[in-house]
Subunit: 256 residues, 2 copies
Amino acid sequence: MEFEKQIKNHFLKGHEIFLRHISIDCVVFGFHENELRALLLKSRVFDKLSLPGGFVMLDEAMDAAAHRILKERTGLDKIFLQQFHVFSDPLRSHRKLLLDLFKEMKVAPGESWMFERFISAGYSALVDFTKVKPMPDILSETCQWFSIKDIPELALDHNLILEKALEHLRLQLNYQPVGYNLLPLKFTMPELQALYETVLDRKLDRRNFHRKMMSTGILIKLKETKKGVAHKAPFYYKFDLHKYEKALKVGMGFQL
Amino acid sequence: MEFEKQIKNHFLKGHEIFLRHISIDCVVFGFHENELRALLLKSRVFDKLSLPGGFVMLDEAMDAAAHRILKERTGLDKIFLQQFHVFSDPLRSHRKLLLDLFKEMKVAPGESWMFERFISAGYSALVDFTKVKPMPDILSETCQWFSIKDIPELALDHNLILEKALEHLRLQLNYQPVGYNLLPLKFTMPELQALYETVLDRKLDRRNFHRKMMSTGILIKLKETKKGVAHKAPFYYKFDLHKYEKALKVGMGFQL
DNA sequence: TCTTATTGTGTTAATATGACGCAATGTAAT
DNA sequence: ATTACATTGCGTCATATTAACACAATAAGA
């Protein structure tokens, strides 16, 4: 079977393509139906779900590797991506997970670079949920969105990685307009507020929120209102791309 | 000569002790005479100065490796240490630097793990200047403090790493009481202010600064005043360790 | 047409911030 | 000893920011 052959080749020869000891794990955040979500893979061989990840090619920058990996999982090219932490516990390892698979494939642990220790760089990706076409990798059967509130036990230290990514996102939301990357081009104020409330995990005053957001000058109000909605139709807004770029560097200068 | 033998051994056998492709670079910040300073090493063999660094042992956590490296350079055990960025440009490499040395030592580039590509984790260390005893490593002849305002051209991408560390420190100073780690146990308010002004690189109003610092409740005013000083003697202060720990996690909730 | 949930905008009181005044203090010069 | 002076500690005030809340406008559905 082609699939098994590819896997076995990866185990035995992968180190001729990729750097040893270094892996990448990505937390892909999306926002949909007032829920913050992350992409998770269901492995063909392991029980637990895991974060999308991969390895760094011998002559590739780590950021480039993360972009390459995410292009494969989401179909997206220009993703807002940041490394946020490196996980280096010497006990974090695929060893236990791989033992059965190795036996089945008749690969001796000592033969494979995958059986060695890995240090993993955590990357946080913020994407427009509506633009993503989740695609599983060769080892997985599904790639799906999971609400942050409803994350099961993950493989390895992936729960820890996800937690750290969330913490990073919360901190960042306080001084950078990262909402831009999580929302479609046009969005309503209630949607933007829901995003902030979900990420920060607390309620915000609707009117004060509106005032603060507008005071940054980063939002442009459109003439168009949302259609087919009960009650008063909210206006659409979009980000002023130029001011967004500036605020990314300088910060927004307010606290929520 | 024992020195050359050790170096050669490190080049040829180091990969039996350390992980390939992974290095650590530390930016050690200290504060002295109203200047923010960093530790730099003067190599025995290279022209340019460089940051203290090292490698990760086969079974060692990265944080532990950084602590081990800094213990060797500063003599200090419990250092406030944080990874802040990973530098992974595939062109960053010791290759050029090592070529002459390899020739001299009759080591073929292909024989040594040191000639391979390295991904480096940047660590930022905040230390009490007065507690540090700078010690050069085996490849260096000196280990000395340099004022941040007066950093020469460094080896590899170390200028970039230092810049990133400084940026990280500036951001952090705005929401965490990191001054604690850079000052001795007791210090005066003008000293604390000088630290903030140096790191943030701007003047602050003396009286407003005093008010804000005290409003955090994180400082304890001592009865003792500074002796042997011209003009009015300022009081000493110390950090309330309990509140400091809390503020590290929660943040300080003010902007300077 | 009326009800109702939701949105857009305004008001006000409390709080935080920035800019500055002034007396107290301790060293050094006279 | 007296005085000059730079610096510290504490206070004031005008202004900006924030939090809490009121109310009219809107559009779907009864």
